[in-house]
Every structure is written in structure tokens, then in C-alpha cells.
């Protein structure tokens, strides 16, 4: 797994030992889930919220691109409980998570870490950054140092202009 880039107060940082992993969906594997930092796919969360909370550790949410917006709206009051929400890009051209991200940030007020995972390329940093993502698990073949430099260069970029400007 590639290193993570995370936005921090004034800059971006490469995180080499990010602990967050997707929780296994198979029931057997979950019975013996060790302590850790787990991202729970939404369906799993919906089914086992009480059990997950009872583990007494921080938890995150994993969203596939076909997540119905209504399911997120139903979670509105509890979104702040997630330390991380990861939006999955099975291919970088699947833009559904772009709308989901905007909903999470603008409508549902989620202020925590919004992470892009999967097929995350240098070329989509511009869009995801503008949509309020603040962490990126870059695609395996993407040099993290280049992605970091790119994110830093976007600070000055006119391409960051707001569409309503």
C-alpha cells in the first residue's frame, strides 16, 4: 500500500505508517478482528454499529461510489463520530464520489478527514482538493513525493478558482 498524503494545518505531509485499513466483509474474519484502525464499509456499519462502537476504538467509514446519498443523510447526526471517511475510486474516471464528497462537506457538515482511496492519480488532486478531500492514498504507481509537490503547487493555482466566482 502506498503512503498517504494528509493535509495538516499549514501544509501537506506524507504519512508512511497510516494505520487505517478496510474491515473485512466476511463475518468469520470479523469475529476475530484485532484491535486496530478499521474503515467499515457502509453496509457493515449499518448492520453492526453497536458492536463496532462497543470495541471502544476509533472507527472510520468506507464508501463505495454507488452509495445512495439518502444513506449518508440518514447518518448526518453521527457523521462526526467517524475519524475518517474514505471514498473509493475503483477507477479515477468514476466521478460519483465527487458528488458524495460535496454532500458530506457542504450539506452534511462533515469536518473530519475525507480520504480519496483507490485509483488516485496526480491528475485528480486538483478536483478532489477543491471538493474538500484532505487526505489521499495515492495509487500504487504514483510517486508520493510528486503528488505532494503537486498539491503544494495547487495552492497558488488559478485552476482552484471557485465555479461561482
Amino acid at each position: 500500500m502506498n503512503a498517504l498524503i494528509r493535509e495538516s494545518a499549514a501544509d501537506f505531509q506524507i504519512v508512511f505508517d497510516d494505520p487505517w485499513r478496510i474491515a473485512p466483509e466476511e463475518e468469520a474474519a470479523r469475529q476475530s478482528l484485532p484491535k486496530g484502525a478499521w474503515l467499515y464499509p457502509l453496509a457493515l456499519w449499518q448492520k453492526e454499529e453497536a458492536l463496532i462502537r462497543a470495541r471502544g476504538e476509533a472507527f472510520g467509514l468506507w464508501l463505495y461510489p454507488d452509495t445512495p446519498p439518502a444513506a449518508l443523510e440518514a447518518l448526518k447526526a453521527r457523521l462526526a463520530d467517524f475519524a475518517v471517511i474514505a471514498l473509493d475510486f475503483p477507477v479515477f474516471t468514476d466521478g460519483r464520489a465527487y458528488s458524495l464528497a460535496r454532500l458530506l462537506r457542504e450539506r452534511l457538515g462533515y469536518a473530519g478527514e475525507l480520504r480519496a482511496v483507490g485509483h488516485v492519480l496526480l491528475d485528480t488532486l486538483l478536483f478532489t482538493r477543491r471538493l474538500g478531500f484532505n487526505a489521499w492514498a495515492m495509487s500504487e504507481r504514483q510517486k508520493v513525493e510528486d503528488a505532494l509537490a503537486h498539491l503544494q503547487s495547487l495552492r497558488q493555482s488559478h485552476m482552484m478558482r471557485h465555479p461561482y466566482q
Binding site: F92, G95, R96, S99, D123, R130
Partner: protein, 558 residues
Amino acid sequence: MYRYNPDDLALIRERAAQFRAQVGRWRSGVLRDDEFRPLRLQNGLYVQRHAPMLRVAVPYGMISSAQLRRLASISRRYDRGYGHFTTRHNLQLNWVRIEDVPDILDELSEVEMHAIQTSGNCIRNVTTDPLAGIAPDEALDPRPLAEILRQWSTLHPEFAFLPRKVKIAISGSVEDRTLAWYHDIGLRLDSGDKEPPTFSVLVGGGLGRTPLRAQIIRRHLPWRHILSYLEAIVRVFNLHGRRDNLYKARLKILVQRLGLAEFSRQVDAEWAHLKDGPATLTEERYQRIAAHFHPPVYRTLAPQAVQPAAQTHPDFARWLARSVHAHKVPGYAAVTLSLKAPGQAPGDITAAQMESVAALADAFSFGEARIAHEQNLVLADVEQGRLFELWQAAQKDALATPSVGLLTDMICCPGGDFCDLANARSTAIAHAIQTRFADLDTLFDLGEISLNISGCVNACGHHHVGNIGILGVDRQGEEFYQITLGGRQGSAARVGKVIGPAVPAARVADVVSGIIAVYRRERRPQESFLQTFERIGSAPFKPCLRADDAKQHAGAVA
């Protein structure tokens, strides 16, 4: 027209630099082909049959003489000295090299041009009326809103990777000259001098494989809410449009699948959150953009009902009848510069012609021109007293073909000579028909007929809405053509009907001759082709497809 501010300019320069870096990463293998492809498409770069093709945007069709000159020099330096105007205010360069494209984009940026979102699954170049701002039937100049739409859609982060492309047209006049009914989203100003102006929003139109007329999703949308309402539509599309099947991914398919009522309900649910939010347009912003489109300083002129030179120059009289359009300012006229000269592929323009249009625009029309979706150019602000002078000058570079609106003013895609998608060589068919109907007396006698040719079902030549539509299809490796009749553009736009089985390429011109012969036989005095077709239906035209019938017209000079 709109002039870029330093931020606009910086944006397109950065975009060009970003593309240069993407080309570099692709060439060094960092970006795979399947990764580079969507990225290059979003910058208008296709890889075609013989060479890459670069599609340059001419947003809502407005172009300056300086831009035309630059396009001419680019086409000479990086291409083969010509370009092709499409039906959506774009100029295509058909013979560029990928490694040159970053330099071309840099050169374009110097004249405030780019190729951003001229392809790819994003919001495409916004189109409007070539007579915007000057048409007598116009209540609101649509260009300030078109520019606002351009700025909004350019690199809109949420809508960078939609299920499929979204084409938007905006019209501010009574008669629709934007083909709004066949766009994914059409905005048509509501009639009546409403203040503030309101729009009807049309949704789910499109040609291509599944031609569907748009439906009215909302009437009386106040102009301030255009962006928030469009965001609601495009968001519903982004989340729910199909991504598993390219051919079922367009917005029109989603609207069809959900039905207008349900689609509208979902849009309204989104809009309830977005309405009156930050996307709401302000008067201040509108006025800031509209200032770029204030009318030029017209002279006070007496309207000129008669052109004296027309008495002595019948060719000029013909050109006047076809190429000159009414203007809302007395003493002025709009003029179509035709790109349909015999022997020229429809929409093609040489570098010399681009420079010639630039010179004519400078001399006659405040240095600006427009691109019409019929693949012609328009000079919008010509003094009536100088029409004869303009006609004489325009003839020199074959820009005064007097066939505007007649049978040989065809709309035609580049076809199989260039395009990877095409099944058929549409321009060869266009050429055969042009040759067949070269006689101006005949053309004028036939009156207004639109003929549209597409080389494949993607319908870039808008064959569905031609009075006569010709579609190239593949029959076991052979080029065949399917004929439709009765299509039309405009406010009452609709698609034509297929009149029978496809015919081989060699027979198409004969079939068209046959169709024209039926019209001449059946028409009543003053009746247009379309009116005759409406009255008699397609039955009398069906025999034209038969080999023995076509034979009668073989080689006929109509």
C-alpha cells in the same frame, strides 16, 4: 466579446502546462494509455484514423479576428493548412502531432483560446445563437449567461468525470437557432418581456444512437437560479447515470428510464438544498460579464430596403437573398459567410480563408465573427450600405457561395476520411450531392431544404433533424446509407422518419435526385419541401430507394 482578465488567462496557461506534463508522463510510461486517454480527451485531443485530432473551443461561437489569424497560423505550422468547423462551435485540426499539442495549447492561450472540455465525459462547450445580440426576435442577449455557464463549467470539480458528456445550449430568441431541443440541457428564454427574465429548462434531448427530443422540466426559472438548477440536474445525473454501458450513459437515457416526473422530483429534491445558495447569480456579477457584450458603437443609419447594385448584379441579388439576415439596429445586417463552396467539404476552412474572414471582420464587422452550428461563419454587424463591397471581397476566398439554407448548404461530419467512429465517408456523399446540384437556378427553385449527413449513428452531422437526413451504416463491410425525411431544427425541431432500407453509397445522389423529383412533381405553389412532405407523407418518396427508380435519376443534373 468577452475578454479574459489576468486570472482567466493564468487559468488556461496553467491548464496548458498541466497538459504538457501529462503528455510527458504518458510518454515516459508513468501514465498508462487508459489513464492518459480521458485526460487528453478533456483537452480535446483524440487519436484518430490517420493522425491525432485536436478540437479547439470557440465558446458560444464568438471569435475575434486576432483569434482567426492565430488559428490560421497554427493550422499552417502544425497541421495541413486547414481546419473543420463542427456543429458545436469548435474548430477541429485533423493532422496534429501529439508532441506538438502542448505548444499549440500555449499558442492558443496567447489569444484567449483553449481546448478545455471539448471532449470527454464532462460539461462541453456551451453553444448559443449565431445571431445573439442582434436578432430582431431576441428578447435577451444570451451571451452573458453563456459566458457565466462557461466559467461555471470550466474545471467544475464535481462534474469532471460524469457518466457521459453533457451538452448545453442557451437561446434568448423566439425562434430557436441553437437546436436546444436536442441538447442534454437546453435553456430557452420564456416569451413575453418578463422582468426579471425567466427560462424554460429542457432536459434529456440528444441525437446519436437514440434520438430523443428534450422535455420541459421547468418553466419560468428566474435567471438567477440557472447555475443552482443546472447543478441539481447534473448532480442527479452524476450519481445515477449509468456507467456500465457507454451507449446507455447519456442524460437522456436516465430521464427516459426514470420518466420525467421522477427525474424532476429528484432534481427538485437536490435543488431545494442548492437554491438561493452560493451558486445564485447576482446582478453585480451579471452586469460585470454583460459589460463585455455591450453593443458596438453603431452609426446612425437609415435602413436600406433596396440594394441598387442588385439590379445590375443578379449574382449579388442571389447572395443577398440567402446570406443576409435582419438586424435589430436600423441600417445594419448580419451576413453568413458560407463554408459550402463546391468542392469544399462542409465546414472545412483553409488558413487563407481564416485570414480572409479575419480581414472581413476587421473591415466590416468590428473585428468579430461567429460560428453557426450549420458550419458557416457569420459577420453580425455589417452596414447595409457596404453589403455589395463585402460580397465582392468575400468572393475572392470562396466565402460568398449563395446557397445558405438551400439544399447544398449541407451539415456534414468529417466522416470516415478522418474519424475513427465513422462507418462511411460522409464528405464523399456531400461532394456527390454538391456536384449533382451545382445549378443555382435549380437550387433557388427548390427553396429552403436542409440536408444533413452523418457518417455513423453518433450523428455529428445531425442527420435526424435534416429535412433530408443521410446516415452512413456498415453492411458487411460496405458503406450503405439510410435516408430519413421530415426532420427539422428550430423551435418545432423534431427527428425525421426513415423511409426504407439503406442504399449503397453509389446510389445516394440518385436517391436524392429522385426525392427532389417527387417534391417538384407534388408541390403546390409556394410550398416548401417540408410542407409538401407534411401534406403527402413519406409513401410517395419510398420508391426513390429502389434501384430501378434511382437508375432513372442516375447522373441526372437536376
